[in-house]
């Protein structure tokens, strides 16, 4: 199996259909990134398609200095950021999703020995993150859930490293307050 660089070369030379192979190689990562921002699977699929089409359009600008996977991840995160901005505008119209009792119980308990299962944790975070601005949410998600570096985050959101650190600190405080608010409202 050839690597991405060879495949990209063939695509640039006119083998358009080989882009499908590139999609197959990276689709899982793209879906994983988008699922951190959108839980509706149909919307995730639409956004993933949008990300790949944007990558296709910008293929001429990919210089190969960074791995294709990183470049595609940045495009995908920007697609997610645009999506969050659109969703933020109509958030009040669609209302908030229901939260399971397990998540609320875990929040109310003071001890940190019991772990919350992954799905409930993700849903709880999703609910709390709705209180954050789209850019704050991207910063926190990239840093805490994807383990990306400050430099990578700065490139995606178009800010300096210092600005990212400050934004992350503020966003974390906002997130804590949002989680506390959720528990109070559900009591």
């Amino acid at each position: 199996m050839s690597d991405d660089a060879e495949l990209l070369e063939r695509i640039r030379n006119g083998a358009t259909d080989e882009f499908a192979e590139l999609v197959r190689r990276h689709q899982s990562r793209v879906f994983a990134i988008l699922h951190r921002y959108e839980r509706d699977l149909h919307k995730v699929e639409d956004l993933a398609q949008e990300a790949f089409v944007k990558a296709w359009r910008a293929l001429g600008q990919f210089d190969g200095r960074a791995p294709f996977e990183h470049w595609l991840s940045s495009i995908t995160t920007r697609v997610a950021l645009d999506h969050l901005r659109k969703e933020k505008r109509r958030q009040n119209e669609i209302g908030l999703p229901e939260l399971g009792e397990d998540a609320l119980d875990w929040m109310r308990r003071g001890d940190e020995k019991n772990e919350l299962d992954a799905r409930n944790a993700a849903e709880l975070l999703e609910l709390a993150m709705r209180e954050l601005s789209p850019a704050d949410r991207v910063v926190i998600t990239m840093q805490e859930l994807e383990g990306r570096s400050v430099k990578e985050i700065a490139t995606v959101i178009g800010a300096s490293g210092v600005a990212v650190r400050v934004r992350a600190m503020r966003a974390r405080s906002k997130l804590k307050r949002a989680l506390e608010k959720i528990v109070k409202e559900k009591l």
Partner: protein, 102 residues
């Protein structure tokens, strides 16, 4: 909500498995890109891009003309020749703004 609990929440959320793409996802993307223009197609330059390219030169040329006019006016005044603004006032009072007009 303390810091440790928040960290624990992130750690649990990180373990969530992402949804799998549908079987025909790559084919769907391919259909979408077939409707797109070719990859290496040169981008057409819009009128705004052209203005963007020309703006620094136009601004520099306009600044040079203004500086030249001010310098000429100052120089003529110093040389005792009626200044440019006086000349323009005189011209307009004699020719342009006379009761009979041109």
């Amino acid at each position: 909500m303390n810091h440790r609990k928040l960290k624990q929440l992130f750690a649990s959320a990180r373990r969530e498995t992402a949804p799998l793409p549908p079987e025909d996802f790559a084919a769907d993307v391919l259909r979408a890109i077939h409707r797109e223009p070719p990859v290496a197609a040169p981008e057409t330059i819009s009128i705004f891009d052209q203005l963007n390219l020309w703006f620094p030169r136009l601004a520099l040329a306009a600044s040079a003309v203004i500086v030249l006019c001010v310098a000429a006016d100052y120089g003529l005044t110093m040389a005792g020749v009626p200044s440019l603004s006086d000349g323009v006032s005189q011209l307009s009072s004699q020719w342009l703004l006379t009761p009979t007009g041109l």
